[in-house]
């Protein structure tokens, strides 16, 4: 081979090698880029699925939580309904018991006495409902007078609107102690509710 042919061959060999190197480099670059891209896409896809799982858990928790809230509300409404029915019945039974003098008269006397004591002073006006005004004529007046001692008790002739019990006032009517059954019932209602809840539902405190 001549010198020129050898030189030419070297030029072509160098060109080929350079060309192959360019292709190899491009292939290596693309392989690296492909690997990096796959890894990034995989992370991105995992994030999508992980996000969906988190959202799914939240959806389930929310649905169950809403169901719990709804049932709690229904339970409370049912309990309130039962409690209201009980209170209504207690009120009804209480007003019926007014006709049972053996139970009612001692309570009425107690309500009048405690009202007079609470009012203080030397005199008091007792206001009763229509039925109790008729009872006054019997032994009620005598028993009250006996128990309050020196306090001068006067009995109003005007009946009050109440299921039972009495209103005690000063003679001028400026101070009034309301000791009616309705008032007693209202005052006792928080305790009645606690007692009823304990008795019906086994709830010891609110």
């Amino acid at each position: 081979m001549s010198e020129a042919s050898k030189f030419t061959e070297d030029i072509l060999k160098s060109g080929r090698e350079k060309a192959q190197s360019i292709i190899r480099e491009a292939e290596a670059d693309t392989q690296r880029a492909s690997d990096e891209a796959k890894s990034a896409i995989s992370r991105e896809a995992d994030d999508v699925v992980r996000g969906a799982r988190a959202d799914a858990d939240a959806v389930k928790r929310r649905q169950v939580s809403e169901a719990r809230h709804r049932t709690k509300l229904r339970e409370q409404q049912e309990k309130d309904k039962i409690m209201q029915a009980i209170l209504d019945q207690v009120k009804k039974r209480t007003s019926e018991l007014v006709t049972d003098e053996s139970k009612y008269i001692p309570l009425l006397i107690h309500l009048i006495e405690s009202g007079i004591r609470e009012l203080g002073g030397n005199s008091a006006m007792v206001h009763l409902n229509k039925v109790d005004l008729q009872r006054k004529a019997s032994s009620l007046e005598q028993r009250v007078n006996k128990s309050v001692g020196t306090v001068k008790v006067e009995w109003s002739k005007d009946p009050i609107e109440a299921a039972g019990g009495a209103i005690i006032s000063t003679l001028d009517g400026k101070i009034r102690i309301v000791n009616t059954l309705d008032q007693k019932f209202d005052a006792l209602t928080p305790r009645l509710l606690i007692e009823a809840r304990a008795s019906l539902f086994g709830e010891t405190s609110q």
Binding site: S5, L12, A19, I23, I41, V59, R74, L87, E195, L200
Partner: protein, 106 residues
């Protein structure tokens, strides 16, 4: 071979080598371009599959949550019925107890 001919042959070889390199660069560029579109295509496919899986997870969760909520409400309704029945059986005694509280002389 004359001197001029020799130079010509060498120049021609230089041209061929330069063309080989040029062609290689063109091919390298094409390879790089192909990988870009390939990556885009892979991304679309993988994300599409992930979104499909996510949609399936969401739908299953919705259904499972619904079923669990229904089961909870069913059990609660039964418990509530039992509670109402127990309360009803204690109602009369409770009323008497409360009436006694109201009528009690304290």
């Amino acid at each position: 071979m004359s001197g001029i001919e020799t130079v010509k042959v060498i120049i021609d070889a230089e041209r061929q080598a330069a063309k080989m390199i040029d062609d290689a660069m063109t091919e390298a560029s094409a390879i790089r371009k192909r990988i870009d579109s390939l990556i885009q295509e892979q991304r679309q496919q993988m994300l599409s599959a992930a979104k499909k899986e996510a949609a399936g997870i969401a739908a299953r969760a919705e259904e499972e949550g619904k079923l669990e909520a229904e089961r909870y409400e069913r059990e609660s309704a039964q418990a509530l019925e039992a509670l109402a029945a127990r309360a009803s059986s204690k109602k009369d005694a409770t009323v008497e107890k409360l009436v006694a509280m109201v009528m009690r002389v304290e």
